[in-house]
Symmetry: C2
Subunit: 432 residues, 2 copies
């Protein structure tokens, strides 16, 4: 028996607010941060996994405290028992009544559970000597079903329906895995579109995004309408007719305001509009989606859990869906959300950027393509080109595409020197 005898959390922050990278209508001065968790069996042959919960600065310490609250559920446990049933720890933690009170299944405590679940997946993938996506794509339909907590999903997705969905894409797995290696997976970039950038920089970055081969770009909107009209005009003129440009309001609008704003930008051609209003407002997204069709409405980056995802899909409130690797209870809950999206025929465009989100979420998108939806048309993973060199296995994005690595694990391990230098508040970067 290998006992879990190692547990370490860290508060790691990057001073991104100095450059206005990541500035949007709701988040003017983020310091991208990682509430970082490592745990496992420390021995001559160690089995340790890593993951992080992404925050934007203040409160990263609260997120670390929430990770620490999970420690008693993990330390001293039989690692091999947990690795033998990868639905077990996830369901135990989300089902624990006392932790559940702090959500339920939402916010800081839920994200901490997600971090721990993701780190366990990292151990599993390293042990199996596979990148996480490949490990997941090797699971049988029955084993995939066992990863999902079907509670509160029965109106939309039963275990039998999920199994059918997994079985439909079981046959073509080897071919799609080969295609993934040969063709990569589409990426889109938000790098040109941060609100803090001036018009000249916007146009230059739009040109560069196209030259680099990105299939689409996304602009942040929601500050002032006249600015958005001007910036959308610049982006469209630079990119040309027909090139997909999405917009992202980061929850800025009321329902009626969203409809008017989107209509004002619709003449420029909008691929989708992301987070028009509160991520809790299923009814609001439904109203907006009906009013601005055929422009597609989307959300997901702040979607609390699979219950909200189910409602958004049932209500046809979204034309596509984001997922986030660190918002919900980890790989397991994201598989539930991907399965729901497949059931409703809604494409998923994973949210990334931040720090480590690209590294983490690519595995879910690759898995979805190979073993779940079976599709990568009209799909793309968000990409922002910064902070990747802090990772042991950074994403490979070339020619506007993500390329799968063959490194075992979930790609979330942060290099040792970064963990030391960017530690908050003690690291050298923070002037201590």
């Amino acid at each position: 028996m290998r006992t879990i005898n190692y547990w370490h959390t860290a508060d790691i922050r990057f001073p991104t607010s100095k450059e206005l990278d990541g500035s949007d209508a709701m988040n003017p001065d983020p310091d991208y941060s990682a509430a970082y968790i490592s745990f496992g069996h420390q021995a001559s042959t160690p089995a340790v996994g890593h993951a992080s919960v992404f925050t934007i600065g203040r409160g990263n310490d609260v997120q670390v405290a929430a990770l620490e609250a999970v420690k008693p559920f993990v330390m001293g446990r039989d690692l091999d028992e947990l690795l033998g049933d990868m639905g077990l720890l996830y369901k135990e933690l989300t089902g624990d009544s006392q932790l559940r009170w702090l959500g339920p299944e939402k916010g800081v405590m839920h994200m901490a559970i997600g971090g721990v679940v993701n780190a366990l997946w990292d151990i599993k993938a390293r042990q199996e000597k596979k990148p996480l996506w490949e490990l997941l794509a090797s699971y049988s339909p029955d084993d995939l079903c066992n990863l999902i907590d079907f509670r509160y999903l029965s109106s939309a997705l039963t275990p039998e329906e999920a199994r059918d969905i997994f079985m439909q894409s079981e046959a073509g797995r080897p071919e799609r895995a080969a295609a993934l290696h040969a063709e990569g997976y589409p990426a889109y970039t938000t790098s040109p579109g941060w609100l803090g950038y001036d018009d000249e920089k916007l146009a230059r970055l739009c040109r560069e995004a196209q030259e680099e081969g990105f299939s689409r770009i996304k602009l942040k909107v929601g500050g002032k309408l006249e600015d958005d009209v001007r910036r959308m005009g610049i982006a469209r003129a630079t990119c040309g007719e027909g090139y997909p440009i999405a917009i992202d309001a980061n929850q800025r609008w009321e329902i009626g305001e969203a409809i008017a704003w989107i209509r004002a930008l619709t003449p420029f051609g909008i691929d989708w509009v992301e987070e028009p209003t509160s991520p809790d407002d299923v009814a609001g997204h439904q109203q907006i989606a009906r009013a601005v069709a055929p422009v597609r409405v989307s959300t997901g980056e702040h979607m609390a859990n699979r219950v909200v995802a189910r409602q958004l899909l049932e209500a046809r409130a979204v034309g596509l869906l984001q997922i986030d690797s660190a918002r919900v209870a980890g790989v397991n809950e994201n598989i539930a959300i991907l399965t729901l999206a497949a059931k409703f025929g809604i494409p998923v465009f994973p949210h990334a950027g931040g720090v480590g989100l690209c590294e983490a979420v690519q595995h879910l998108a690759f898995f979805d393509y190979v073993a779940l939806s079976g599709k990568k048309e009209d799909r793309a993973i968000e990409y922002v080109q910064h902070l990747h060199d802090h990772f042991v296995d950074p994403v490979v994005v070339k020619n506007g595409r993500y390329w799968p690595s063959n490194v075992p694990g979930n790609s979330q391990e942060i290099v040792e020197s970064t963990r030391r230098d960017f530690a908050f508040p003690g690291g050298v970067i923070w002037g201590s």
Copy 2:
């Protein structure tokens, strides 16, 4: 200028799991706990307020860490500036982009903001030498509007509509305040109905509840249907026809399961069914409500914020609504929720019990009666008879009614000896 120069948080826990008080289908072994916050101006004439966030044990330390994350927003501020605009701090904290990332507006961080907002109200009420409910009931309609964050509410409630609602009940305030002192406010009790109690104890406590004058009782359900049928039969036989008995499933069911279970219990007469399924599932509550009408469906104890409340009301998914003093962002957000409920003509039955929830939420119900809905028919505050002697100004419940105290403040201050003895893990109660 009085500077905020005092800030103290505490982790206080009560070993309630030993007695199975508070046991329900979702929460088998709660240790009722308070993440306690005190802050203000410490001087020869101190101005300090208190509040707590209720949790059920594990994770209370995470809740305390979240309170601590608010400290930089409060310490060193001009207390009188904050007291002069009681919407200011609330909107600052819920609007802070970095704290917001940790929700947004849900879970541990949101509850911490609620605790801090509630403690500020305690300072305000003490300074004005009024119990909180009386202070709130002295606000003009315009000033009440200024307390509310109308963001994401515009489809249901504009500032103008809110002002109209407040103005409609402005005239009768003195008469209703007098009636409150003369008649009290209806209470109902959950004391008989915990799942951990045997049948004999259930029957005895049902009799006692009636004898004590409670207007209704509530039974926990959702363990085994056959047990619920038997217990409902005992309660009905003991209480007699026509006496209101509500049931509470604490989120136990799937949608279809809820409908079947409620129908099986409907012949016994159900006043309302509380938390049939996930508190995030507006669509599910709507389906259940339509299927089991005229039995009323309810939720709110775990309702994340006013955006979810708005959707529940717009969808007619609830026939009544709970509010909780410590789940949302404090007094301000609860005033928004009470105003929404008044707009839709839906009665509010505040959730209480726990530790300090009765003390806190009575102020909101009294305020609602005197200066908002103007009604106390078909309304009642939950009451559980334990842990009240730990409070400086405990609730007064006699003859099945809450009676307003005249003590200035919000009634949430915990007595000094309890704060010492029940401190976790250092207090004598915890064996240290």
